[in-house]
């Protein structure tokens, strides 16, 4: 259980985080989203007690970070954004050090290290010197160190950055498992990851909490409601007019070899369209519904307010995050995630929604 009340952090006159309150329950995975520089890492550092808040407070399982810091920290596992390890140590030695630091006895530590090494797929590198490990391995060593002492509360800042697709699947599986009984706070740039893992999402922009809810609720808030995509075999010149008359369809937009129907919120005209096609003898080759994705919500909520002033900038930043090496995996994950690049969010969001 994490409880944050009125968290504020000022640097001189600049408020990096302003009055952010939320709580995370046991067995819940909460995702924090926000553009770069929005205050995510500052918030996370206050939650973990690394950074004392200017105002407000944090309670970890009811223990105040200010009043009872050691008891609160004992319950906490933390994967910082910048994965920092001691390069001269062997992997095993580092985990032994972290186990000792967390207060595990020698006997407990051995079992804990074995478990963490197994769940983070580090078996074959146990004896390696950390300085010689690749980024993906170091990321997993840091994750292993965070979960080592079996903390009830886990805070993971970008846990899948730098991993290959196979590892991403495994680590997400691990996170999902951990989230079943524990309290898990997750920050990530990868929106499909949020949709797959998180029961609830916070969106932070310019230091403020701008939205909170389940991915479902956030999607419902999005202005752009649903869209139906449709394609026929051959040319069907009169389709546009006929479809425009279907109940629930607001507008028909031509696409490249397909049509896009903008629909009223909550409307699902697909059955009607199918009947119409049968009636007219059109051969349908595609009929799919696209719901507003978290990406839409994210771009809309943080539009023109983030570090970049223009809305395209915000969108470009998101696109960039999809192009980073760490994200390759997410593109290659679900069956629907293979093809589309960032310019085609339709299938991806559909796929992510299904997977959830």
């Amino acid at each position: 259980m994490i409880e944050a009340r009125g968290l504020t952090r000022r640097y001189g006159d600049f408020a990096a985080v302003r009055d952010v309150s939320f709580s995370v329950a046991d067995g819940e995975i909460l995702g924090i989203l926000g553009p770069n520089g929005a205050g995510k890492t500052t918030t996370i550092r206050m939650i973990t007690g690394f950074l004392p808040p200017t105002a407000g407070g944090v309670w970890i399982n009811g223990k105040s970070l200010r009043e009872d810091p050691l008891a609160a920290r004992r319950q906490l596992g933390y994967l910082p954004e910048s994965v920092a390890l001691y390069p001269e140590m062997r992997l095993e030695e580092y985990l032994a050090y972290r186990a000792r630091l967390a207060g595990l006895g020698r006997g407990e530590a051995k079992g804990a290290i074995d478990r963490a090494v197994d769940s983070c797929l580090l078996g074959e590198k146990r004896r390696q010197v950390i300085g010689q490990l690749s980024k993906g391995y170091r990321q997993r060593v840091a994750l292993a160190a965070a979960i080592l002492h079996g903390p009830q509360v886990l805070v993971l800042d970008e846990p899948t950055v730098g991993l290959d697709p196979k590892q991403i699947i495994a680590i997400r599986e691990l996170i999902r498992d951990l989230g079943r009984e524990r309290t898990l706070l997750l920050s990530t740039h990868i929106l499909p990851e949020v949709e797959q893992l998180c029961q609830r999402v916070l969106i932070i922009d310019r230091g403020r909490l701008v939205a909170e809810g389940t991915p479902e609720e956030l999607r419902a808030q999005s202005a752009s409601a649903t869209e139906v995509r449709i394609a026929f075999e051959g040319e069907v010149p009169d389709a546009g007019d006929a479809l425009g008359a279907v109940d629930g369809v607001d507008a028909v937009l031509p696409g490249d070899g397909h049509l896009r129907l903008r629909c009223a919120s909550g409307a699902d005209p697909r059955a009607e369209i199918f009947r119409l096609a049968v009636e007219r003898g059109w051969v349908l080759v595609e009929l799919s519904q696209r719901r507003a994705s978290l990406e839409d919500v994210f771009v809309r909520l943080t539009r023109g307010q983030g570090t970049t002033q223009d809305p395209d900038g915000a969108a470009a930043e998101l696109d960039n995050s999809h192009g980073t090496p760490g994200d390759e995996g997410s593109e290659a994950l679900g069956p629907n995630d293979t093809g589309p690049g960032p310019e085609d969010p339709v299938d991806r969001s559909g796929g992510a929604a299904e997977e959830r």
């Binding site: 973990t48 690394f50 050691l70 933390y78 910048s82 920092a84 390890l85 000792r100 630091l101």
Partner: protein, 247 residues
Amino acid sequence: MMHGFLAVFSRELRAYFVSPLAWVILTFFLLVQGYVFSLIVGFLTDPRAVAGPTPFEIFFGGIFLWLTLVFVTPVITMRLISEERRSGTIEALMTAPVTAVQVVLAKFFAAFVFYAFLWLPTLAYPALLSRDTSVDWGPILAGYLGVLGIGGMFLSVGIFGSSFSKNQIVSAVVTFGCLMLLLFLPWAGSLTQDPQTGELLGYMNLLDHMDELGQGIVDSRRLVYYLTTAALFLFLSSRALEAKKWR
């Protein structure tokens, strides 16, 4: 509550012995000390030498001791907190269930053990001499007591310097500056007109302390001075570590 101290202490001590810098320090330290000692012995065994000081009075009271201490201790300590802050490992360290005081003490004692290890081989000098001549071990032990006491004080200043910056060089220079003040301010105090200030600074004159210790005179007030100064700087370091942990 010892687990945090022990974890940091053993990691830190190990880090010394696997770092190339430590072995470079050790090598040059022994080269310089060995050379200095051979010079002293050579000088004293010259038939024309005036009778008087023992080799260890010169060894512990000489300028080479201070040069060594003032240069070696900042290099030993500069890494301690700066490097954790630069690399970011401080984030995992300071969110673990350990206090800043434990962390600072653990780092201090690791540095102190390494420092003592540097001096260990120099025990061979009196041992060598004792084969051919009679050696009075009392003043020698007193000298080592001073070396450890003043060294510990300097190392605590070094940790304090290291808590200032992410940059090890900056840390070492800050430490070096503080040590110069600690060493030469009391010495300059002999020039002051005000008798009370002069007397106070006289108590803090480390150069005199080592001269006396080299002669076997142990004054407990001096040991108290080293201990309290070390405690003060360690306390300040732990405050700096807490206050700056967000950087």
